[in-house]
């Protein structure tokens, strides 16, 4: 994975497959503490403790087409390589939380990447899922909430290319401000 946004895209796919209706993605950058924290939380079907214990093992996967699953192991590896940590918690019937902390200034921390593009890809592919995205950096904050957006758009489909393009611009513009 070239950047963190692609890891997020990958992990959120798990949430979608788990039947989540609400997905929270939060990115918190703290340059004083020198951390970048990514939190992905869903209300999907969750996993039993023995499954949770094995999901970061590259030779474990729930997929039946082949025997390796690298999404979470790679994410974990990247976090640990940049002096961070990785944690996953899940409860059957309640959902799953994945948390990864990175050393913000660590040379091995992948760049954040195109979060606006990733968000719109997720929103466009599963317009029925509610996404709540929050990005903070040293006290500045931006929130993108599909519930609010749907209210404003009053029935205009979120997976319409013209709509997605505007939304992507809007998120990109706001993230630029948070990042600056």
């Amino acid at each position: 994975m070239k950047d963190l946004s692609l890891h997020i895209l990958d992990v959120v796919q798990n949430s979608v497959s788990a039947g989540a209706k609400n997905i929270v993605v939060s990115i918190a950058e703290d340059t004083k503490k020198d951390t970048l924290t990514i939190l992905i939380q869903d209300d999907g079907k969750g996993m039993a403790p023995d499954v949770v214990a094995r999901v970061t093992d590259p030779y474990y996967t729930t997929r039946t087409t082949r025997h390796v699953g690298l999404g979470l192991p790679l994410f974990k590896q990247n976090a640990e390589m940049s002096d961070g940590l990785f944690h996953i918690e899940s409860q059957v019937g309640r959902g799953t939380v994945v948390k990864a902390v990175f050393g913000h200034s660590h040379i091995d921390r992948p760049p954040l990447g195109d979060m606006a593009g990733v968000l719109m890809m997720l929103v466009g592919s599963n317009p029925e899922i509610e996404y709540y995205y929050k990005h903070t950096k040293d006290g500045r904050e931006y929130v993108f909430d599909t519930r609010e957006v749907k209210e404003v758009l009053e029935g205009l489909p979120l997976n319409e290319p013209a709509v997605l393009r505007q939304l992507k611009e809007m998120v990109r513009e706001n993230l630029r401000e948070v990042e600056s």
Binding site: M1, L6, L9, D10, Q13, S17, R63, T64, T65, R66, G69, L70, G71, L74, D114, G117, V118, M121, G124, S125, E148, V149, V152, L153, E154, L156, P157, N159, E160, P161, A162, V163, L164, Q166, L167, E169, M170, E173, N174
Partner: protein, 132 residues
């Protein structure tokens, strides 16, 4: 184009967005729409599926092809990522492997517009060892 930054700006844009959608819906018969699915598993993402999907969304719209572009999980063809499955109305789905921007362009121009087949189609009868 004016920049939108807040939900209030988005609200102002709504009528123009609405007219674009309405224009499309007039010619719409859901059964007649082309379905394009991009494989977005770990291996797909790592091989550039995001760029391919963004390219397909933008270009299909620019070239006035009425298609739904969406994503799917891992299709089991990790040796040929990124993979793109195209279903033309009334036809069997076809999966293209090793899709980059150039190939995505060929898929639109040759397969979607003219029904020509391309190199790199993953045979339909392909089955993983597990299934046998």
């Amino acid at each position: 184009m004016t920049k939108i930054k807040s939900l209030a700006d988005l609200k102002k844009m709504k009528s123009s967005l609405q007219s674009q959608v309405a224009l499309r819906e007039k010619s719409d018969n859901p059964e007649g729409r082309i379905l394009v699915r991009v494989g977005m598993g770990t291996s797909g993402i790592a091989s550039g599926a995001k760029q391919v999907m963004e390219f397909l969304i933008d270009e299909l719209e620019k070239r006035n092809v009425d298609a739904i572009v969406t994503q799917t999980g891992d299709m089991g063809y990790s040796y040929a990522e990124p993979t793109v499955e195209v279903t033309l109305p009334g036809q069997e789905p076809i999966v293209f492997g090793d899709v980059d921007q150039k190939k995505a362009d060929d898929i639109i121009e040759k397969y979607i517009k003219n029904g020509e087949l391309l190199d790199g189609i993953i045979p339909q009868n392909y089955e993983t060892i597990d299934k046998k």
